[in-house]
Amino acid sequence: MNGSVQESTHRAIERVARESYGRLVAYLSSQTRDVASAEDALSNALVAALKAWPGDGVPQNPEAWLLTAARRSFIDLVRRRQVAVASEPTLQLLREEREVMLPAEFPDDRLKLLFVCAHPAIDSSVHTPLMLQTVLGLDAARIGHAFLVSPTTMGQRLVRAKTKIRDGGIQFEVPQERELPQRLDAVLEAIYAAFGIGWDDMAGVDQSGRELAEEAIWLGRVLLQLMPREAEVRGLLALMLHCEARRRARRGPEGRYIPLSEQDSEQWSLPLIEEAERHLAEASSRGRTGRFQLEAAIQSVHAERARSGRTEWGAILLFYEQLIRISPTLGTRTGHAAAVAEAKGSEAGLAVLDAIDLESVSGYQPYWAVRAHLLQRLAMTSEAADAFDRAIGLAEDPAVRQFLLQRRG
């Protein structure tokens, strides 16, 4: 067999795996609640595909092929692990399997799987890792790397969560109308956390960071496809796209960090900005505002600089004032202070920072960076140097550290 056929088959498998992984895991596990076995079965099926497809050619319906192979493997796995741990739905599946032929079309249960991953009974620190693994197929080592824990630890956390899903009575279902907003928030938060980690993780320099941000956008698109009428889903996607649009502009030569205000807007990606704007407009036409739409709106004002050459800080401040009412996080409050400083002067901005409880910011780097910046503008040199030191000492990204060291002087 020649190399290029093999290569194109590998690419085909990668493509199918990427597009179908979550659908297949969701389908297999929604019937049995056994996520771990579903994943194992699917990875066996992918190994089988790697063996069979280069010789036999890529099947006409690769997803159905994988599903057949995965089901067969799933049944083997459960039989081997034996019935002591198998749940009633699993046994039911085993019984049915003998008679039932494969459905040509199978339902897309990814939405249920996303809600399971972000279920309130699952520790919230595992929500994002679970999604990355079950819906996208990322391995524990890569997820652990992104979350700054060892692969073993991440693996154990994921196993514990999956055991809880299987044995804890967590239902694979889309929540009822009444609890939907809150449950959806948890899903959105988890996706945004993946994006934030990819973003902070030396964005633009570190390949794994960039990929994680892309994975998060992919998850956002999947969610939008499944819930096209939810305004906040569009808001989240718009927010991520706006940030993604600036990726190239965030780094100068030799990986130098460039803050938003100094970025060359010609380096921003117009197609991504336009896509973000479309989602944001569609979201606001639905009339229910929310945290992600507001954050996207702030980024949208920043993006406007590409056209007008200036930043409307007054508009940004208005959005921050709304945002702080519904989501008074440290990040929002720090951003609010920065917007106040730009719109009303550094002293006013500093007063907003002063109102934040000092205990809560002792480890929060952006607070110290904004504070240092404002103190420096007010020519309070020694206080500024102090705040710079805190910001530098808490920075993880060497480029940000370098940038702050230079600013500190």
Partner: protein
């Protein structure tokens, strides 16, 4: 829980100690140290002299074997340690990631072993 953060540095990092203190590595350490102390979790920490000043002792069949230099001949050498009181390994890893040495050398995080100490005290 108490953790040790062990900073393993490259020769270039040790060389920076001879500078006038305005280089970015030293400035980053100065800021990091300040953040450590301000966090309230810092218990102790010391830099070690450069590896070439190390002397390693073994007793082989009752005979002293003294070797010039550090115990292990590796590119990165232990350059100092920090002891912190922290709620979890995750918190310790966060502090390790912020350490300027993490970007150039490596920072190992190890829990202290109070039980082992208890056995001998």
């Amino acid at each position: 829980m108490q953790f040790a953060l062990l900073a393993y540095e490259l020769p270039e990092a040790f060389a920076a100690r001879k500078s006038d203190g305005t280089d970015s590595y030293t400035a980053a350490w100065r800021a990091y140290h300040k953040a450590l102390v301000e966090s309230g979790s810092y218990l102790a920490g010391e830099p070690l002299e450069v590896p070439e000043t190390g002397t390693t002792v073994r007793l082989n069949e009752g005979k002293r074997r003294v070797q010039d230099g550090p115990f292990a001949d590796t590119k990165e050498q232990l350059g100092g340690f920090i002891i912190m009181e922290l709620p979890s390994l995750d918190a310790a890893l966060d502090w390790a990631a912020r350490c300027p040495t993490a970007a150039t050398g490596a920072v190992e995080v190890r829990p202290l072993a109070p039980a082992a100490k208890h056995r001998i005290t």
